[in-house]
Symmetry: C2
Subunit: 191 residues, 2 copies
Amino acid sequence: MDNKPYHHKELKKTLIETGLEFIDKYGEEKLSLRKIAEKCGVSSAAPYAHFKDKDDFINAVQQYIMDSFMDSLLTCVDKCSDDTQVLSELGVCYVMFFYNNPLYFDFLFSRKNIHIRLSSENDNPPFELFRKTAGSVLEKMGISEEKIRYKTIAMWSIVHGLSALSSMPDIDVDWETEVKAIINSVDISKI
Amino acid sequence: MDNKPYHHKELKKTLIETGLEFIDKYGEEKLSLRKIAEKCGVSSAAPYAHFKDKDDFINAVQQYIMDSFMDSLLTCVDKCSDDTQVLSELGVCYVMFFYNNPLYFDFLFSRKNIHIRLSSENDNPPFELFRKTAGSVLEKMGISEEKIRYKTIAMWSIVHGLSALSSMPDIDVDWETEVKAIINSVDISKI
DNA sequence: CTACAATGTTATCAGTGCTAAGTTTGGAGG
DNA sequence: CCTCCAAACTTAGCACTGATAACATTGTAG
């Protein structure tokens, strides 16, 4: 029978995944902990055993998405041994992730707890991966440290800006082709 | 005395400006219509005479900011008669607006009602201004229509991506100088 | 001057975040 | 095997929110 067991066991994980699914369907602003709890078949106060407050829960969902985003990027970098292509491949991968998951862009980056610093070490994993990859590639090309900073910022801006575009609702173009063309057309050595 | 008059007269405008101020201080997610109403000295139901619902109110505030953003951009374009500079000046103006108003970027662009189309006419005023300005400049340079699209998208992506960066909390660099250097370093004819 | 539409009011509802206090449960140590 | 306790849940309830209904006030068109 469906008499709910007192102990749900994997409730924390279930809550996160249910929350993710909900955000996917209805967006973050419609989410309430009570609805998520109900969907999981537990009382409205149950989540508070696992999360300090709603914000803590949202952060957990965000981290879940961020991990999956990083998986994509790391896989892409690993697949790409060729230095001359890794940057544009990484850029396309970055953009396509949000094209395929339109609701994730706002959710990941409209939150204030995500900070990005330009010059130094960074606690934002995707940007840090981008920064290090670009740094290593550009260094091998014999480019000065200052210029590396400019180029990295410019490239990341393009990629991030394209992602913002690609997660908009009404894209009326063959986006994957466009993205590749645009990123490839930006010759980093010319920036 | 402070016995509030029944008719506040300019309540709609006052609500919007109070809302703007509030978002500036505490962010959108902390905003409630009741608090705004109280700050304006009216009852909690009063705003519903002017706005259909909370979303309608938020849209009005958003429009208010969008208008001020467009003012900046248009002033910039007007001041700049020189075709060779207008694009980079416009870019710097775009980015600096959000550098100077860090909370506005998320507020303007994380809302789903803002759409951006690439190829055709567009109901997003700043992007449309950017698209037309770039189109006119690039056309005079004798660039093909297809390339104009690519360049426009790439340039807007850089500018928009830089804006995302510039509205982040912990910028630890002289941003205005950086932005100018980066935008100027992107030679559009090379994209 | 009077009727009425616009613009306010109070009262009330359901939904939300969160906490307090009590209940169930699995499992570690006797 | 029992006992006890901390973790994981429950129900109850508070304060706040968005929204609506029913009523009050007011400026103004006719």
